[in-house]
């Protein structure tokens, strides 16, 4: 197995673990962090491809993902805080208003 395959496998694993965390963990903040993990997995695969192809596109896209992730967190966390103030709990099981 050469380096690219190993790195891609690692990126896939990190992404899958992140998605698993979103499904499995109850805490809202932990779920957010798992989403960040997913983004990291994607970043790794992009860098791997950029390294393999020699193109700058991969790096550019990684940089853009940084920006987007930052903006996302900056907005997501205040939303979570507001939600928690409303419901009084960080447990996702409490948020079933969309049922039916």
């Amino acid at each position: 197995m050469d380096q690219v395959q190993w790195l891609l496998g690692l990126a896939v694993a990190i992404f899958a673990v992140g998605l698993l965390g979103v499904i499995v963990r109850r805490n809202l903040l932990v779920m957010l962090m798992c989403m960040e993990l997913m983004l990291n997995g994607v970043n790794l695969s992009l860098v791997t491809f950029a390294h393999q192809m020699g193109e700058a596109v991969g790096a550019v896209l990684v940089f853009l993902i940084f920006v987007v992730a930052t903006a996302e967190i900056a907005v997501a966390i205040p939303i979570v805080l507001l939600l928690v103030k409303r419901k009084g709990s960080l447990d996702l099981a409490a948020y079933t208003d969309l049922k039916g």
Binding site: D2, V4, Q5, W6, L7, L8, G9, L10, V12, A13, I14, A16, V17, L20, G21, I23, V24, R25, R26, N27, L28, L29, V30, M33, C34, L37, N40, N43, V47, A50, H51, Q52, M53, G54, A56, V57, A59, V60, V62, F63, L64, F66, V67, V68, A69, T70, A71, I73, A74, V75, P78, I79, V80, L81, L82, V84, K85, L90, D91, A93
Partner: protein, 172 residues
């Protein structure tokens, strides 16, 4: 022997960093307190930064640590600090979908690996062992300037949203 080790240092470090990143990710799922989960994530990110550095994209590695760890995770940690540890969400870790989740996880790994395993051609003729900041900057200013500007718009939107939330918070 040290020479043999040093000759293979790249591969070794890559392996260590990779295992570390994966370990941190696995810990994230398992640990109970959010603060510990955050720490695990930080470690994963740092290891990934190391991998980027090994691949030759030093500035991306720098950005990883600066932005991801330095801004995003710090913010995360602040928020975790604001929370009540007696919150029942912290007591019970897993949702009801643990088993289906793990099964799906296994399937996803299998499917993704099967999809990407074929992608292993030799590096292209003009591949460089890493490329420099200059190339990156030129690319940004020449071909991808539109995306660059759009990200600034996105950041403005995020700022506005954050201010709005603060106001809502104050009013509510």
């Amino acid at each position: 022997m040290i020479d043999a080790l040093l000759a293979r240092l790249d591969t070794l470090l890559m392996l260590v960093f990779g295992v570390g990143a994966l370990g941190g990710a696995a810990l994230m799922i398992v640990l109970r307190e959010p603060m510990r989960v955050a720490t695990a994530l930080i470690s994963t990110m740092v290891f990934l930064g190391g991998i980027y550095g090994l691949l030759g994209v030093h500035f991306i590695a720098a950005f990883q640590v600066l932005i991801y760890v330095g801004a995003v995770m710090v913010f995360m940690v602040y928020v975790i600090m604001l929370l009540d540890p007696r919150d029942p969400a912290i007591q019970r870790r897993f949702s009801r979908l643990l088993l289906p989740g793990v099964a799906g996880f296994a399937l996803l790994i299998a499917a993704l690996v099967a999809a990407t395993w074929k992608v292993a051609p030799k590096p292209a003729a003009g591949a460089v062992e890493g490329f420099g900041l200059q190339q990156f900057a030129v690319a940004f200013l020449r071909e991808y300037w539109l995306q660059f500007e759009l990200t600034s718009v996105l950041l403005v939107a995020a700022i506005v949203a954050a201010v709005a939330v603060v106001r809502l918070n104050r009013r509510g």
